[in-house]
């Protein structure tokens, strides 16, 4: 372009060399060199960086999961008849490997042991495969977690609700969890009273339960691994977090299951190495110890009565709150029935039968009204 201009100036305009050189700069979008596509190159580089991070992150999570499983395999295989099950195979045979839910969550189901139904272990790693998440974690550090959920049969656990964990976790769980908010209404107590570090707090249904759970061995476990413990939750009324219902409260009490829930933080605060997984082994020992302990822990007569009273109270409160809803539901059901019957009468082709059905319905209505009136009279007499 500049060559053309120069030639033009030389031959077409005389004395062009005397004119000031006005070589306009060509706008970027009219140039055709690679340099002008720098935004695109930036975008593609970003995508390549994302892909690289995906591969590296995925591999790291996979190595961590495998390291965890290798260090815990022996303990699990010596305690459970079934280690590893995805629920899809016909026969209940141990798969002997983790289920991969996605690139950062791995599951392991163990079953076939005394004192429990089964144990679900979830390795909830950080989303190392997602670059956005990696960048977000630079602002707000987080750590990998191992969550263990042990489900128990009815005879494996007495009726109590108990939780111990970091202060922050206890405050959050007390608000979020259905059973902790209903049965452990008091503020979390400091663990120092029971010989564990002050960083841990305790939520309990009654003092007897805390004394029963916090024996010497448990205190020793909690003290030696306090920084790795996020929360430990034992409950016979476990139904998960409070469910927000849109159309008012549910008409039935949520289903509960006797559960022991453990959440552990993997040391390293994100910069975990496979070697760190070995340090979680004592915590798994604590889980096994807790399963056996809960089986043996029985409340005395007073404690049992208190526990039964608590459960009855919670149920009564629930019934009271849902009373109006249940009444409305019953009313709608009655109206539906009436409407259905009327429709049946109307649809009846034979006029005689129609008349007879109508009369029968009228008689039923009359009887109901009389019964109601009798009841009202009785109440009035009693009141007097």
């Amino acid at each position: 372009m500049s060559v053309t201009l120069a030639l033009f100036e030389k031959y077409m305009i005389p004395n062009a060399h005397k004119l000031p050189r006005l070589l306009p700069s060509v706008p970027a979008h009219l140039q055709n060199s690679w340099e002008s596509y720098y935004m695109e190159i930036l975008m593609v580089t970003g995508l390549l960086a994302y892909i690289m991070n995906y591969i590296i992150g995925k591999n790291k999570n996979s190595r961590l999961a495998q390291a965890w499983f290798n260090s815990h395999r022996e303990l699990l295989e010596s305690n459970f008849a079934l280690v590893g099950d995805d629920g899809t195979s016909k026969e209940a045979t141990s798969t002997g490997k983790l289920n991969q839910e996605n690139e950062h969550i791995y599951n392991l189901w163990c079953s076939g042991r005394v004192c429990c139904e089964g144990m679900l272990i979830q390795l909830k790693f950080l989303k190392r495969q997602d670059l956005l998440n990696v960048l977000a974690r630079m602002m707000r550090p987080a750590c990998d977690q191992v969550q263990v959920k042990v489900t128990l049969n009815d005879e494996d656990m007495d009726t109590f609700v108990f939780a111990v964990g970091s202060r922050k976790a206890m405050a959050r769980l007390q608000k979020e969890m259905q059973d902790l908010s209903e049965f452990c209404g008091d503020k979390p107590k400091s663990g120092a009273k029971y010989g564990v570090p002050e960083s841990l707090s305790i939520l309990s249904e009654m003092g007897e339960v805390t004394d029963g759970v916090m024996d010497n061995k448990m205190v020793h476990y909690l003290t030696s691994h306090a920084e790795k413990i996020e929360s430990i939750h034992f409950s016979d009324q476990f139904s998960g977090p409070k469910v927000m219902q849109e159309e008012g409260q549910p008409l039935k009490l949520p289903e509960t299951k006797k559960t022991l829930l453990f959440t552990f933080n993997v040391p390293g605060m994100g910069n975990t190495s496979p070697k760190d997984m070995d340090s979680l082994l004592p915590l798994m020992n604590m889980v096994i110890y807790s399963i056996d302990k809960v089986r043996k822990l029985r409340l005395n007569r007073e404690g049992k009565q208190k526990a039964d009273r608590n459960r009855a109270r919670v149920e009564e409160n629930f019934l009271k709150q849902t009373h109006t809803q249940r009444q409305e539901a019953a009313q709608t059901r009655r109206e539906e029935k009436k409407r259905a019957e009327k429709e049946r009468i109307m649809n009846e082709e034979d006029p005689d039968r129609q008349r007879r059905l109508e009369e029968a319905a009228q008689r039923r209505e009359q009887k109901k009204l009389e019964k109601k009136q009798m009841k009202m009279k009785q109440i009035k007499v009693k009141a007097m």
Binding site: H29, Y37, L47, A81, G118, L132
Partner: protein, 106 residues
């Protein structure tokens, strides 16, 4: 034999099969990121295609990558692939219609 049984806590007769948790009853268990990113990706792709905005198309590609990275193993790969294809076609179409480089927002 009984002494052995006492020491060994394993009971093959007490095996329960694994049942995946029901996420319908407890929606807090599910991570919504892949679904949101998928939707966002499709929205940006359509904007990029129809309004001929190159940056929309590029963001759509990023969204579909993020959705893929966060997706569950059980999810349908067909949906992921279709979202990828849509965003890539949005980018390609924007450049075919207008080969000029993207201008930065500053």
């Amino acid at each position: 034999m009984t002494a052995n049984n006492m020491a060994d806590p394993r009971r093959p007769s007490k095996i329960f099969r694994y049942k995946p948790p029901n996420t319908e009853t407890n929606p807090t268990l599910e991570d919504p990121t892949p679904d949101y990113m998928n939707l966002l990706g499709m929205v940006f792709s359509m904007c990029g295609l129809m309004l001929k905005l190159k940056w929309c198309a590029w963001i759509a590609v990023y969204c579909s990558f993020i959705s893929f990275a966060n997706s569950r193993s059980s999810e349908d790969t067909k949906q992921m692939m279709s979202s990828f294809m849509l965003s890539i076609s949005a980018v390609v179409m924007s450049y075919l219609q207008n080969p000029q480089p993207m201008s930065p927002p500053w």
